[in-house]
Subunit: 348 residues, 4 copies
């Protein structure tokens, strides 16, 4: 059994790791940390875990030194800027780390410094692997530090990367990425802006033109296209708990049909368990993927304006965070890639 610890387990990604790992036959959770809930039992804080193997699991303080020898694998589920304070020590103690924050996603420390905060350990950026499993599987397998992708980037990159690689996208036209996220993406916090009465029966765009996932998307698209890509990225807040649906508008380099685009995606993902390309005429919705590690993608080429429209749906807490993190762990430690992730979407 692989000994696993979760640093920062009191948020939504933490409890989601616990939900999914409960059914993972190859791991044992040896520690979960939380300053806020130190000393409390996990099932007291999260009663949804009550009937499961966590009855003896208690939150402990995030004492990295003490913890680094306890486990072979760590999920760091703390906010950005906090992750880079604990990851080096864990790596130096010989552990492998899947970091769910943004701290090791950007290769260029200047970009990180500009969008986030001064980076404290840029020397780890080179070896960190961007953990988009279907794209970087081999590098992940041999890595000791995986930067788990952001939720919006996951929903954007999976449909776009094969098209950029294929050369079918006109990179001189602006890529428009219009994303819509459920509220759990904002985290488990007491905020007026995410209180029920503010969000329910409302809808809004936010951080238009300035969301921090923008450089992450651009970095990975640029790698796929082998040239610098800029995107116009607009996130929106949907009155639902889980899910991201992203609508992407791209210009083709030549006249192309819906069938053609579907073929490119099918060729890329035909053997993937967690990425499903819909047939022509079908489009994804959140209730196809809720609670699961799936990414479902639909395609429509608008002939009237010569635009490729891609629509992708993921559960932001699963494929967009904790599920992909477990998928990364499975790859890093040689487990079957879908262990702990064989969860059917909840419908209705």
């Amino acid at each position: 059994m692989l000994r696993v610890a979760i640093i920062g387990a009191s948020g939504f990604t933490g409890v989601e790791l616990l939900r999914l790992l409960a059914l993972h036959p190859g791991v044992e959770i040896v520690a979960v940390t939380s300053r806020q809930y130190e000393g409390k039992s996990v099932t007291e804080v999260f009663p949804s875990l009550k009937a499961y193997p966590y009855s003896n699991l208690y939150f402990s303080a995030p004492d990295t030194k003490k913890l680094s020898n306890l486990a072979g694998a760590f999920f760091t589920a703390v906010p950005h800027a906090a992750a880079m304070k604990v990851v080096p020590e864990l790596l130096n103690a010989g552990a492998k780390v899947i970091d769910l924050s943004a701290d090791f996603r950007l290769r260029d420390v200047n970009v990180y410094n500009e969008w986030y905060a001064p980076h404290l350990c840029p020397e780890f950026l080179d070896e960190a692997v961007y953990g988009l499993c279907e794209i970087n599987r081999e590098k992940i397998a041999s890595s000791r530090l995986v930067a788990n992708p952001g939720c919006y980037p996951t929903s954007t990159l999976l449909p776009l990367i094969p098209l950029l690689k294929s050369g079918i996208v006109d990179t001189k036209s602006t890529l428009v990425i219009d994303s819509k996220s459920g509220v759990s993406g904002a985290g488990r916090k007491a905020l007026l802006a995410t209180s029920f009465c503010e969000v329910n029966e409302s809808f809004k765009a936010y951080k238009v033109g300035e969301h921090r996932h923008t450089p992450e998307i651009e970095q990975e698209l640029s790698i796929a296209a082998s040239e610098e890509i800029k995107v116009c990225f607009t996130p929106h807040l949907v009155p639902m708990t889980r899910g991201i649906l992203t609508t992407i508008y791209a210009k083709p380099t030549k006249i192309i049909s819906t069938t053609d685009v579907i073929k490119i995606l099918d060729d890329s993902y035909s053997t993937e368990r967690f990425v499903k390309i819909l047939e022509e005429g079908q489009l994804p919705s959140i209730n196809m993927i809720k609670g699961s590690n799936l990414c479902v993608i639909g395609v429509k080429v608008d002939k009237r304006t010569n635009t490729i429209i891609l629509v992708s749906a993921i559960d932001n807490l699963v494929k967009g965070a904790s599920g992909q993190a477990i998928q990364n762990l499975n790859i890093m430690f040689g487990f079957d890639e879908y262990l702990g992730l064989d969860v059917i979407p909840l419908y209705p």
Copy 2:
């Protein structure tokens, strides 16, 4: 008192007309029709109207001949293709008509025939005025047939028309219009697709590249731009009852700032009671306008990709349907334009 009748009053636009007209001091509702509810009292079918002046109002059959002499103004709130069967008779009897269907919105009968159904009375298309009040106020005032705009077009045209008129929009680049609507836009029907369990906690795009509001948007934008405009229009379904938020991506003809774009919109709408332009840094949300006749517009120019992003919010049943219809009635009959529409948004 102006005698008013509503043809097809059993849907959401019908009951919304009744909600708003209840507080209109200048009109008297003399007839409401519904095949389904013929003979039933309005307050039995719509208990939300229980405490108001409708206790003696009963649904009658849509006998146009009989009704045409009863009222001076008619709202036709029946589906497209049904409206064109009743409107001519009402006009010929001397009444004025505000039609909430799509039947008289498109000037080119061929476009109507292609997107909808064979038109039965194209001879009325020339005189029909497109009832976007803030844009066509003068023509509306002298018209006897107003085609009330669709909900998506209203949310798209109000922010875009002043920019197209100003010449700031690069009309050679595709305009991307990404709209998100509450479920009431689908009407008051028993459909599996709009049942609670299908819509709740889900989100999807639908009719991508083929929604019938596309030619309506293009027609009015083309008039504003004095050249043919094509748009890439994608509607989405939000798990909320009311509201449309539309995000528009346009390329400028030159380098332009957020302030510049706001100024153009401010100049167009500064005296308008129902259109509000937000200051730089602010963005609209549905809970700013729910239940009201307002259209609130926010602007952000994304300098990184040189894109004008416009975000507009309306209540699809008010400014997007029944509210604007009453605004049209007020203009046509010389009432103060805001009578019956002085409704504060419901927040929270």
Copy 3:
């Protein structure tokens, strides 16, 4: 014009007072206070009020001394224990006060002390009138201090008081009051417990057997019954923004029919504009009353178990708070009772 001030206007009851008073022809709002938002404009904090006559209204500090001479009527919309610190000064300056907190609702200071906190000015309890308008209209008219009823009590007392007065309720059997409230009842605060992801798609009972509205309900029922009444009161949290639906179970003193109970209620409320008794076979729902000052009541006598079941629906922010407060103001100052309250429920 009556000069009115709102002390503590930054919560949901505050903004709801502003929404409703915007359409009240007889009052002028001269001050709104908020420590948190001091100096900010009302429309900046509450953009839903943007298009209305509040463009020059700014939040000020709650300097009671200064304010007490500005206005003839005060709504105090601050939390319990805070209200009793400001109300005496306002009264002493000659103003009339409608207090939306619990501070002046309980006649017995010992009961207040037990359920809330030590009362600071019990000398005002005797003159305070419990502002349940339909029941205490005459006393309210001549009062200078009205204690505006709680939301749960309003939904409970309106259906039960006529039955207790009529002697038809067996007061030796426990009255079971099972209430369900929308989330806005918890106020406009940043709390994890009322964050979207905690409340949405969930449902729970809370404060079972210990909610502070219990003694308020018992006090008013005891007055109606002329004997001491105890109730078993259980509140629940519904994933919706507005509305309270209360289901009441009472034992009759004799065999009685649904029709009989409806008749008692009809006799009490036939001339009331804001209380509607449904016919046999009909039951209220929140979408009959949302946004309005209505209380709709349905009745069913369960013959199998000889139980009177009453179901009432109110909007907790209107008839359960700000609407009833305005109704009280109208009564106190001789306005038509429905001024500012002629709002049709929002459906759908």
Copy 4:
């Protein structure tokens, strides 16, 4: 591998059986029937099942004769009155049946005839076992026909039966059962009453005093109490998709504490995997159990009125329908009782 067929698999209980059985290691689904979707693939109708072992499963016509030899176990998930038409043939062919309808739940055919419809095969009522697993486990194990309990009855019986058996409940006082259900309880149908815009942001009681689950609850409580029990049962509709929360009010035969009641329940359920009794001071909510086969129960004795208040939470589609049906199958066929049911609640 046990060969299993689902008769009537196009509703919510059908798709939920498919979701859960996908992870059941001991069964193979050999047929799913649906008149409406005959010939269509399961994953076309239910895209949420897309990535799982159902790619070759197609809906067939409900030809019972042909099907009866295909499988050893049948779930009949058709409406009441339809089930009794197919169950006899399946039994006569030697299969075992778990019927999710009401057709075999009531022992007294007269009661069935009164509340439902004329029973066509009352000769099977005697041998049918009421499939409340924790209560009737032994009888279920040796049965060939299990009547799977209704959702409301499951949420009511699990907390009440141990108390009635213990003699602590005063059976001369009326038991008040106030239940609140998510919308999926109404089934997967195109109905105006369960359309999004009718249900969302609303709440109501329905079928007050006349819901068909009443005699089912009374039958099983009477067995537990060894005397005839009548209940006053009121269902309500909550704007959420899944979950039932039931609040029960019972009078004790003597002064009793919350601790005492919890002890009785703990003694009954301490070894149960799917029933969890909360500690004093805790209460269940739907987000503790959503998507899982759990029933969580909280207790509060209201000393002021001497009332036992029980609050239970289940997922109506799992423990209230398909999950319990699989639990019954596991018992009937000697599988570990939790196979296919080891699903962690989805939170948030």
